[in-house]
């Protein structure tokens, strides 16, 4: 019988609107403090887009020595490389003490949106004398006015490639693109890679920023953004009666996953153990149908089965809590149907209001919260939750953090489009 290798978390590297590193993020989460602000610094001049969780202080030069390589990096890539540096440092890993062929990368990323000013040059040179776009003019004059390596900044696999290049990581390398579930799946897939012995250490997580014109326009078209007027730090309120959609954020998170033997051998500090992972797809066509929660329920069940645990073993659930009303309701129904008998013991939290919704990157930072609850025995409150939506009746942690022993924490991440992923973290 093959014995499965145990996998533990030995480092965190995150860049969020709360600041650099996991400490300011954890502190903000514990205090239910949102980093969402008025979106003026983005310079969008759009009356319809008011609030966002932005990285205002982020300077890639602090993390990346090779200045020339920064030119090849979109913001998403810069954040991911910075997060990878922080993660390795936090895990006390440096090229001198790891075998580069036994350490790999799995990140969750989506389509990286083009910078409109960058590609705009090419399209403007593709206009004919009447100011109309002409494909022949674009072919002749437009294309050659683009930055020759422009394309490389926007391929979805590039964050994982840059992270491997920047840190000399020559093990397995993968990029998962399953919507908002992508980063959580990336962590789950990396866990499998170590478990089966293909690597000893994996950097896993994700990166995303939709705080650009192309990204925001998609969310507006899909009607997924909150449009309420309220103080910026109060506006994003999953599971609350007032919930009316997403507030976008940006950031990146990378966890250092490591085989238990490897961590023990080098005497690494362990934050938590990754004990289970499950994924599924929603089965109905209409993602807006609040009654269809079977897919979400299956992901939750699969992750617990993978960890050989029962619902009653779970102390903390870091819910997806996107703030989209029908998604919050679906998730509540799924959680209710699975955990109802254990509600006396279960603590449910949701942390998206702290940073804004990181979309493809969301699981990468929320996994840090789930893992830390097992380490610290503290559960952050659901920020901005005053009156829960009556259809979302879960045992939420409200107003302030709860201190209690946490042996098992589960993270739910659901993507629109119907991708579901759950991870189980165990105290180690």
């Amino acid at each position: 019988m093959t014995i499965k290798r145990r996998v533990v978390v030995t480092g965190f590297g995150i860049i969020t609107p709360c600041g650099t590193g996991w400490e300011p993020y954890w502190d903000a989460a514990l205090h239910g403090r949102s980093a969402i602000r008025n979106s003026d610094p983005l310079g969008l001049k759009s009356p319809s887009f008011k609030y966002a969780g932005m990285l205002e202080q982020f300077d890639p030069k602090e993390f990346i020595e090779n200045r020339k390589s920064i030119k090849l990096m979109s913001r998403e890539i810069q954040m991911a490389v910075a997060a990878s540096r922080l993660a390795l440092k936090d895990a006390r890993l440096s090229p001198e003490n790891y075998d580069p062929t036994r350490i790999g990368v799995t990140l969750g990323t989506g389509i990286i949106n083009n910078d409109l000013d960058e590609i705009g040059v090419g399209f403007r040179n593709g206009l004919d004398e009447n100011g109309h776009f002409s494909m022949t003019k674009f072919g002749q004059d437009g294309i050659r006015s683009l930055f020759p390596l422009w394309f490389l900044k926007y391929l979805p696999n590039m964050p994982a490639c840059h992270v491997s290049v920047a840190n000399h990581l020559r093990g397995p390398n993968n990029t998962i693109t399953t919507s908002s579930a992508a980063s959580t799946q990336a962590i789950g897939e990396a866990y499998r890679v170590i478990e089966r012995g293909d690597a000893d250490i994996m950097l896993a997580g994700g990166t995303d920023s939709k705080l650009n014109a192309m990204g925001i326009s998609r969310f507006q078209l899909l009607g997924l953004l909150s449009t309420r007027d309220e103080a910026p730090e109060k506006v994003y309120c999953p599971f609350d009666k007032r919930h009316d959609g997403i507030v976008l954020g940006e950031g990146a998170g990378i966890l250092v996953l490591e085989s238990f033997e490897s961590a023990k051998k080098r005497g690494a500090a362990i934050y938590s153990e990754v004990a289970g992972y499950g994924s599924s797809s929603d089965f109905n066509y209409d993602p807006r149908d609040p009654d269809d929660f079977t897919g979400k329920r299956v992901a939750i069940r699969r992750a617990l089965e993978d960890a050989a645990l029962e619902p009653a073993d779970v102390d903390v659930l870091v819910a997806n809590g996107s703030g989209i009303p029908q998604e919050d309701i679906q998730e509540s129904l799924a959680v209710h149907s699975f955990y109802a008998s254990t509600f006396k013991k279960l603590h449910v939290t949701a942390v998206k209001p702290v940073t804004g919704n990181l979309v493809y990157g969301t699981g990468s930072v929320e996994a840090v919260i789930a893992a830390l609850t097992t380490k610290k025995g503290q559960v952050p409150p659901v920020a901005n939750l005053k009156d829960p939506d009556p259809q979302c009746s879960l045992p939420f942690v409200k107003d302030k953090a709860k201190s209690c022993p946490v042996n098992v924490a589960v993270l739910n991440t659901f993507g629109f489009g119907g991708q579901n992923a759950s991870l189980v973290f165990k105290k180690c």
Partner: protein, 432 residues
């Protein structure tokens, strides 16, 4: 307890050479090229005006039956068609597999920007002067009027998988990876691992992609990666030939049904072959160049062989990544020599990209199918357009005509732009 064995019971393909495995395979063995002048948009002033387009594909057939597909991307349709063929080929039906034990690991590519509405939004948003080229406030305003929410959603790579899971009632594990040119090979490898681990009994795997759109062709052109042999499209993709000058973009989908051996035997499915090895590594060298020593690619091949418990002399065929770029083909030759040692000059190697072009994320899935067909028919498809030997590429590339020979074990290489290397090991199924 030994690991669960994983076999292939279904295959489906949509390629520049045909809209089924049968048609594609027939033309591959005849050494036909699927490359032609671009018709999908006006590329007349682009430096590269050729590609391998899918031809005669019936989008209507899918639309009639499935109204929710009205805004689906081109490559999603290819994926559905190839998946339907693979599903049928595997003789699957709703009752033959428990949907909760039926998963998917796919390598679906993105479909670029929805071009016309984008232009309609962008052009009026140009600023008159100043550092900013585009007024973002105006862009957001015009986008809300000109763009279609559903088309924007469908352009995301995960939507292909969403459609596949719904149409084929796939309720097991779900994932989609997008590792450039290695994506669908990686998806097959990961699906293989899922079944071995016991997470599913049946997995749909493979990929779909079309990058034959203005920004795709422009992007690769600027990287000087594409062939500009516009006057001789059928001769443009010439892997390992001395006069190769870049790759030719192809499009399509390749889908495999992977199944746990006992599950396949119980339902008396016909078995096309066995997946026995999968290696994944990164170059971690430089974004714009492959590692000149090919260490990552060589290691991926070695890992696949180690997992499969095979030695170089056991290998009967290598389906090369063979893109027809100057660097890839000489470096891949070096890598094969490094891994295969003395046996390198004896193993037949071919690049089917010479005929299909480079189907990017979809390439590896189709190439795995080609390896299995080579086993079935004991025929190795050729590398066409091989006219002038390159001293740096001095192995047996099965030039220009297919070769009849027994194939029991094959390797399929896929190397992604940015340095991901994937190798799959496939083996003829032996019932004993």
């Amino acid at each position: 307890m030994s690991k669960r064995r994983v076999v292939v019971t279904g295959m489906g393909a949509v390629t520049p050479l045909g809209n089924s495995v049968r048609d594609t395979w027939l033309r591959l063995t005849q050494g036909k090229s699927g490359i032609g002048t671009i018709t999908l948009f006006d590329a007349s002033r682009f430096s590269t005006r050729i590609a391998g387009e899918v031809k005669g594909f019936s989008f209507e057939k899918w639309l009639e039956r499935n109204p929710p597909l009205s805004c689906a991307s081109r490559s999603t349709f290819f994926a559905l068609q190839a998946a339907a063929e693979a599903y049928k080929n595997a003789m699957l039906e709703p009752l033959s597999v428990n949907p909760n034990r039926f998963g998917i690991y796919f390598g679906a590519g993105d479909s670029g920007i929805d071009f016309d509405p984008f232009i309609k939004t962008l052009v009026p948003s140009f600023t008159e002067s100043g550092g900013e080229i585009v007024d973002k406030g105006k862009y957001l305003e015009y986008a809300s009027r000109n763009m279609s929410a559903l088309r924007e959603l469908e352009s995301q790579p995960f939507m292909t998988v969403t459609h596949l899971t719904r149409l084929f009632d796939i309720r097991g594990p779900v994932s989609n990876c997008l590792t450039a040119c290695a994506a669908s090979s990686q998806a097959v490898g990961e699906a293989f691992e899922s079944i071995r681990r016991g997470d599913a009994d049946v997995m749909m795997a493979g990929g779909s992609h079309s990058m034959i759109y203005p920004m795709g062709v422009a992007g690769f052109s600027l990287l000087t990666a594409l062939s500009t042999r516009n006057d001789e499209p059928k001769k443009a993709s010439r892997p390992f030939d001395k006069k190769r000058d870049g790759f030719v973009i192809g499009e399509g989908a390749g889908v495999l049904i992977l199944e746990e051996l006992e599950h396949a035997r119980k339902r008396k499915a016909s078995i096309h072959g066995e997946v026995v090895g999968y290696g994944s590594t990164a170059d971690a060298y430089r974004l714009t160049d492959m590692d000149p020593e090919g260490r990552g690619a060589a290691r991926a091949m070695e890992i696949a062989m180690e997992k499969a418990c095979i030695e170089p002399q056991n290998i009967d065929y290598i389906n090369a990544h063979g893109t027809s770029t100057a660097v890839n083909d000489s470096l891949e030759t070096l890598v094969i020599k490094k891994v295969m040692g003395d046996y390198a000059s004896k193993v037949p190697i071919s690049s089917t990209k010479s005929m299909l072009g480079h189907m990017i994320a979809a390439a590896g899935g189709v190439e795995a199918i080609i390896c299995l067909m080579a086993m079935r028919d004991s025929v190795i498809p050729p590398t066409i357009n091989y006219e002038e030997p390159d001293p740096e590429c001095d192995l047996d590339y099965v030039p220009n005509t297919a070769r009849r020979t027994n194939v029991n074990i094959a390797l399929s290489n896929s190397f992604g732009f940015g340095g991901q290397n994937i190798c799959l090991a496939l083996r003829r199924y032996d019932a004993s």
